[in-house]
Symmetry: C2
Subunit: 212 residues, 2 copies
DNA sequence: GGCTTATCTTGCCACTGTCAAGATAAAATT
DNA sequence: AATTTTATCTTGACAGTGGCAAGATAAGCC
């Protein structure tokens, strides 16, 4: 709490907070280890003990981002659970909205050259994000959803193909839009277009499965 | 030609070549303006006159990348033109293959925070890339393809929705795969999965249009 | 108390992007 | 052909960076 203390007490969290603030204010370009340290009120070499190097700090930032994305997805899907079309639309809006509201965060999360994520044993927030996305697809197929561990090696090819179609479309939309490539979409029709595409996607994924 | 000349003669091209070589060898992290200048055999401030700053050089690199992507797409699509499913599959393979073979190039091309592209009047390579992608979709719909200028403000919402579905899926697949996120796909089934998804996409896009 | 360990600081190094000023050569003008 | 103008490249400097090594401080533990 006290800034005069030699030992900060919660420097790791303070550095992460500072990093996120900096990313929002000046972007990834202006983001530096030293600026993070300054903002947290410590010396320029203080981050080393907690994060090793810049890659370590950014990896931790990315992990936080995945946690927030997973939260946003869960919150958006929950109110419409059961309505297959609305679920995909909510997932799209949430995912794309996250990229729009936290562009720098989103960029870092998908920068394999910048950060370091253990793919064998992914951090909990990463696994949770993927679980939310997978469960949306599973419900489209009328299959029981997962409670944990979305990385099931025995998943059938058909399920994987549905996951690919769903996630890749959503991510592609979010990424291309974030990087300014979807200029052919008039801004006032953007939401309608996204919802329409989501509906078509839902129809494709649920075809033949929800014959109840 | 002669390294002893004060005036290089073709420094702009030489710097771009050096930049691409550096990106391949050391990646975006190790890439610096000064390293480019060293490799081109000129002083550290020489790039300024041709590209202004680092952003200018990277933008030129990205433009080159779009040119190569457009070439690759055209070359991949041409042999199978007319076969709707094969066209989408070839487009996928070409796009994803480009990201795999030129990862750093691909990353820079879709970094709106790093480069600077005039969206009102896109450079020829950018427009050409988008034209190749748009034409694939138009042929799926049984509509005449474009010869130039894919940025048509009078395009109908239905066409735009098809473009979105197609391009976003393809780009999402390429990007997520490049950034190591598609770990649920066993590597030996990757191509089959991509082709299957492409076939399903083709069926969706061409439904009701190719009733010949 | 004394010892160990975790945490943070200080000082340093090579390196970076950018700028300003100057040097050189090519092109344009007369 | 001589001179002026312009384009191109070099040199030198500056503040800022990441990372390392060594030291300072404090907390925990016996």
């Amino acid at each position: 709490m006290n800034a005069s203390k030699y030992h900060h007490g919660d420097l790791k969290r303070a550095l992460l907070d500072a990093a996120e603030e900096l990313l929002e204010e000046v972007g990834l370009q202006g983001f530096t280890l030293r600026a993070c340290a300054r903002r947290a009120g410590v010396s320029h070499a203080a981050p080393k003990h907690h994060f090793g190097d810049a890659r370590g700090l950014l990896s931790a930032v990315a992990e936080r981002g995945f946690g927030r994305l997973a939260d946003a997805l869960a919150a958006a899907i929950h109110p419409v659970k059961g309505d297959l079309v609305a679920e995909i639309q909510a997932t799209c809006q949430s995912y794309v909205g996250f990229a729009e509201n936290h562009p720098e965060h989103f960029r870092i999360m998908f920068r394999d050259d910048l950060i370091c994520i253990d793919r064998e044993h992914p951090p909990e927030p990463v696994a949770r994000t993927f679980m939310e996305l997978t469960n949306v697809i599973l419900r489209q197929r009328g299959e029981p959803e997962l409670k944990f561990s979305p990385y099931d090696p025995d998943r059938s090819d058909a399920v994987i193909n549905d996951i690919i179609l769903g996630w890749c479309y959503i991510h592609g939309y979010a990424h291309l839009r974030l990087e300014g490539q979807l200029t052919m979409i008039p801004e006032n029709t953007h939401l309608a277009q996204m919802n329409l595409a989501a509906e078509r996607l839902s129809n494709l994924l649920s075809a033949g499965h929800n014959a109840e």
